[in-house]
Symmetry: C2
Subunit: 199 residues, 2 copies
């Protein structure tokens, strides 16, 4: 017998596969049950509504990224640490590309669906904190240019990373994940130059 | 009698209203006809498929933004000119917020829908050119820091602006359009400082 949490995770993964393949609007309770090889009744045992199911799938993306961020080695040059954290968010391989596509689909849907909007806002708040923490790490280690405002820099880095993700998901041929990473690395080199006397 | 182009524009505007209010997945041919006060048959006279209708609505957003970009006064300090161009893209009022919401919904949908993907890619290519042109204007007028790579800077500015738009549409309470504009202005002040000797 599968335990409930593992089954819920399996269902969330079925949601992701549908979102990446067919779009979020196809992730109905019926399609998710079929994708996971379950009856509608069994699925309803785990999730009462489609909104709950979608919310769980989105939360799982957030949790996984956060777990990977926590696993990043924090020692050494903080420029390297921050770029390693951002690497966990960028679509640099198949798994992370899937997460980014799910993230974009949910983000667009959250604009018009109140149930998803509050969850998306919660994840947004955690991301704001993550980027504030990255800028603070750069500042505390003396790497951040001292004339920069930390609040503005956290917003600027967060917006840049989301824009890079958006472009890499939208047009992978023009802007592959690695090219997006190079833009982020160039940005970090400007706000935290190796030799603060230069640039 | 209404001319065909005006009627098509009216229908595209009906699509926008539905997207902003209910989400893109509600913009079916049936709902758009009802929103515009037309029969399904009349609508089909203008657009044979839902894909054509959605494509026209997206193209119209792009055309309107481009027309406003062309109307920006190009004289004087090129930092002001570039910020004025970006202002036309940011959700700084109700009309531009609606455009941004439509843009986000179509962008997310384009990832899984080939018909919209090629149109979205075409608009993306025009935007890449627009941002390259902005960076060139800063460079040619001597405002851009000479140690910056123009290709990287065009990608960085484009990603930053799209990230700012995304955050402003997603959580207008946390990040209103004006706050996003301040982040973009701070970025421009770094890459094209008023006194190139400083910063």
């Amino acid at each position: 017998m599968v335990d409930a949490e593992a089954r819920r995770t399996e269902l969330a993964e079925a949601v992701w596969r549908i979102v990446v393949r067919d779009g979020l609007e196809q992730a109905s309770v019926r399609n998710v049950a079929r994708e996971a090889g379950l009856s509608m009744g069994s699925l309803r045992h785990y999730f009462a509504t489609q909104s709950e199911l979608l919310g769980f799938a989105l939360r799982l993306v957030g949790d996984r990224i956060e777990a990977r961020l926590r696993a990043v080695d924090l020692t050494g040059d903080q420029r390297r640490v921050v770029l390693a954290m951002i690497d966990e968010m960028l679509p640099l391989d198949r798994r992370r590309r899937g997460e980014c596509e799910v993230w974009l689909a949910f983000t667009a849907r959250a604009v018009v669906e109140p149930n998803l909007a509050s969850l998306r806002a919660e994840i947004d708040a955690r991301l704001v904190e993550a980027f504030q923490m990255m800028i603070r790490r750069l500042a505390d280690s003396g790497a951040l240019r001292p004339d920069l405002d930390q609040t503005v820099e956290a917003e600027r880095l967060y917006a840049l990373v989301d824009g890079v993700i958006l472009h890499a998901v939208l047009r992978p041929s023009r802007m592959p994940g690695a090219a997006g990473r190079a833009v982020v690395a160039a940005h970090l080199a400007r706000i935290a130059p190796s030799d603060p006397g230069v640039a």
